[in-house]
């Protein structure tokens, strides 16, 4: 997430829409991408992004700068994304076969860059959908957004050892899933 000055945050808190747009521009990529990776659906990620920024706009007046603004945004985003992912998991069609989830198109050597990006994208989508939302949020914050264990612990309000154990279990499962996948090594 890009840096946001305290002055901009204060102006946004006072109702300045342009200042709030600056906050949006700095944070929207993080919010949208975390939501998308945790939930796995673009439409739901859009909805979560909207809700996150409306929540921020609503609660910005009460932000006292006692904690990091970034951590606050991370927390709101991850909580909303996990809630959405859990709701989705309950309503998801249970008949979707495991093999369908793992299906990734085979590619040959010398592929275009955009095809390769899409290929990695598909792998990530499939891998992440195989672990629970709590583990998924830890993996996304660490592997995609690059947060440290301490930052993840603060964001999720959990012990740092819980972060460690969630990552370990998630990766054990992801590794087993990767071994089952029919495509070759990346």
């Amino acid at each position: 997430m890009q840096e946001i000055t305290e002055d901009v945050i204060r102006q946004a808190a006072q109702g300045n829409v342009e200042a709030f747009e600056t906050v949006y521009k700095a944070a929207s990529s993080f919010v949208y991408n975390v939501a998308y990776r945790v939930i796995g659906k673009r439409e739901d990620a859009e909805e979560v992004t909207q809700e996150v920024f409306l929540t921020l706009h609503h609660k910005l007046k009460g932000f006292r700068f006692e904690s990091s603004f970034k951590t606050w945004v991370y927390r709101i985003t991850v909580n909303q994304a996990i809630n959405m992912a859990k709701r989705e998991a309950k309503t998801r069609d249970k008949m979707t076969s495991y093999d369908e989830q793992l299906e990734v198109p085979a590619i040959s050597g010398g592929v275009q860059e955009n095809i390769e990006r899409e290929y990695h994208n598909k792998i990530i989508d499939d891998l992440l959908q195989g672990i629970n939302p709590d583990q998924r949020s830890c993996v996304v914050l660490r592997n995609i957004e690059g947060l440290s264990y301490e930052e993840i612990a603060k964001t999720l309000k959990i012990n740092i050892n819980t972060v460690r154990s969630r990552l370990k279990r998630a990766r054990e499962k992801l590794l087993a899933t990767r071994k089952q996948m029919s495509y070759g090594q990346v």
Binding site: S28, S29, L54, I144, R171, R178
Partner: protein, 160 residues
């Protein structure tokens, strides 16, 4: 093997995520130089779990999203304006300039309704009183006319 298990746990988390301090990191690296199985495990974790995430592109934020959020923020403000409007309207009723006019209107309505109700009650009493008296007198056999126009008809004279 227990030693390898311990190192594999570190490889799967703190080592691969660069969260170890210098001493612990050196210990893991020394073990990796000595143990081919753990070395293979490290490469597997790196290639299958870390690299795909590093290569996965960040998704571009849909361009229309800010417009929707901005609109929803403005709608939120307009909802507040409606509430303010209703509150202002209620406050306007009690505004001092409107009090005399409102009091006059209430007085006119009160007086008018009082006159109308009195007339209705009087009419009802006149009718009910005359009918009741005629009934009492007829039951006692005394014939006293309630109204003069009740006497003098042939049929009344026949019975009396």
């Amino acid at each position: 093997m227990d030693k390898c298990k311990k190192f594999r746990d570190l490889i799967l988390t703190d080592y691969i995520d660069a969260q170890l301090d210098g001493v612990s990191k050196a210990q893991v690296q020394e073990h990796l130089h000595q143990c081919a199985t753990c070395q293979a495990f490290f490469l597997e974790v790196k290639n299958k779990l870390i690299v795909p995430f590093e290569k996965a592109p960040h998704q571009p934020v849909p361009t229309h999203l800010w417009g929707i959020i901005e609109e929803r923020i403005r709608q939120g403000h307009s909802r507040v304006s409606v509430v303010d409007f209703i509150r202002g309207w209620i406050e306007g009723i009690t505004f001092p300039r409107l009090v005399p006019a409102l009091a006059s209107l209430i007085m006119v309505v009160f007086i008018g309704s009082t006159v109308f109700v009195n007339q209705q009650v009087k009419q009802a009493q006149d009718w009910e009183g005359g009918t009741y008296l005629a009934y009492i007198l007829s039951s006692t056999g005394v014939s006293v006319p309630v109204n003069n126009h009740d006497l003098g008809t042939p049929i009344e004279q026949y019975f009396l």
